[in-house]
């Protein structure tokens, strides 16, 4: 029963990996497949592998994938350009052929009644696995330790980068800032803080300068790139709206700074 519920989900998720554009979505679909597999392991009398599948595969390996995706950039989506002509179609045809051959061959086979693991699991699955692992497979197990330490060292070597330039110290950074100020007039101090308003005090709202314009350097460049910034003039309109709700006439009030029509940015780009 569990199988017939999980199998369609797994096949659908696996097919999804072939078609989704973003690598993160592929990772999520793979997580679905792996977790369903873990449940199938439990159904197949393998409680140890059920735990290992969740802890090692879904927990460690998939997280590693997500970490690398984070470093590489989540928007690194697939290119649709074919380097080898017709490769995609050929691969699909060959894949379908392989699948057809495998499924047909398997449907010819009768496996007979399953022996079941009740006898082999007597005294506990983990105990029995340990019995076999530390007797018949002990050399393979020891070789595994060599493999793991090689992998760890290999990853360290691959991730290591030689420092080619001397490390920047605080003193040298300060000297560089003052040099920049002397040469180009770049502001040496910290950037202005965002969102200093009565109603909104948020990082996505630029601060207003005394002349009423929005200080673009006060909001994070990441937020600007995503396009989720509330503009200064829009904020000023909000303030007028509140005054109207309070029963005051905005035209009689002193001009709200940063009203629409005010220059969006007069400030030079500080860093």
């Amino acid at each position: 029963m569990t199988f017939w519920i999980l199998a369609p989900i797994m096949v659908a998720a696996a097919l999804g990996i072939l078609f989704v554009r973003k690598a993160v979505h592929a990772a999520m679909l793979l997580a679905i497949v792996m977790l369903s597999l873990a449940v199938l392991y439990a159904v197949l009398d393998a409680p140890f592998l059920f735990a290992v599948q969740i802890i090692v595969y879904t927990g460690a390996i998939l997280m590693l994938f997500l970490f690398v995706l984070m470093l590489v950039g989540v928007d690194a989506s697939d290119s649709v350009v074919e380097t080898i002509k017709g490769q995609r179609a050929l691969a699909t045809i060959l894949g379908l052929a392989l699948g057809a051959v495998l499924v047909t061959a398997l449907s010819q086979v009768t496996l007979g009644t399953a022996v079941g693991l009740d006898e082999a699991n007597a005294g506990g699955n983990i105990e029995q696995l340990a019995n076999i692992l530390f007797s018949r497979y002990v050399f393979a197990f020891e070789a595994t330790s060599a493999l793991l330490i090689t992998a760890a060292i290999g990853a360290m070597v691959l991730a290591h980068r030689e420092r080619l330039t001397p490390k920047e110290t605080q003193a040298s950074l300060a000297a560089q800032r003052m040099r920049d100020y002397a040469e180009t007039g770049k502001h040496p101090g910290p950037l202005p803080a965002p969102g200093v308003y009565a109603r909104h005090n948020a990082v996505d709202t630029p601060a207003l300068l005394p002349d009423g314009s929005a200080a673009e350097s006060s909001v994070s460049r990441v937020l600007v790139a995503r396009g989720v910034i509330r503009s200064g003039p829009a904020m000023a309109d909000d303030i007028d709206e509140v005054r109207r709700q309070l029963g005051q006439d905005p035209s009689e009030m002193p001009e709200t700074s940063g009203k629409s029509g005010a220059p969006a940015s007069t400030e030079e780009d500080v860093k």
Binding site: V56, F65, V72, D78, T83, A114, A151, L158
Partner: protein, 97 residues
């Protein structure tokens, strides 16, 4: 038990097609993981079919090797990405010329 083996074959095929068609090295890697998982399912199924635990031990070793392989593979992908700003398998083609 045949249905488990058929599911394993289908997952393996999907993984195969994924490796052949996808261009992003990380997704290609995920498809390899899918194929390894499909093999594990077959191993565990056969362990139950034959009533001994050797299949589960083999699946356990596959998982260990997969973990080591993923660590090294992703480190290589990171190194390539650092030097070429691309995670596409088609861009690493210097040996061709």
């Amino acid at each position: 038990m045949t249905e488990y083996i058929v599911l394993s074959a289908i997952l393996f095929t999907i993984g195969c097609v994924g490796v052949l068609t996808r261009r992003n090295a990380i997704v290609v890697f995920m498809c390899i993981e899918l194929m390894l998982n499909a093999c594990n399912l077959a191993l565990v199924t056969f362990a139950k079919q034959h009533g001994n635990l050797d299949g589960q031990i083999a699946a356990f070793f596959v998982m260990v090797v997969a973990a080591a392989e993923v660590v090294i593979g992703l480190a290589i992908i990171m190194t390539i990405f650092r030097t070429r700003r691309s995670a596409s398998v088609d861009d690493a083609s210097l040996l061709k010329y």
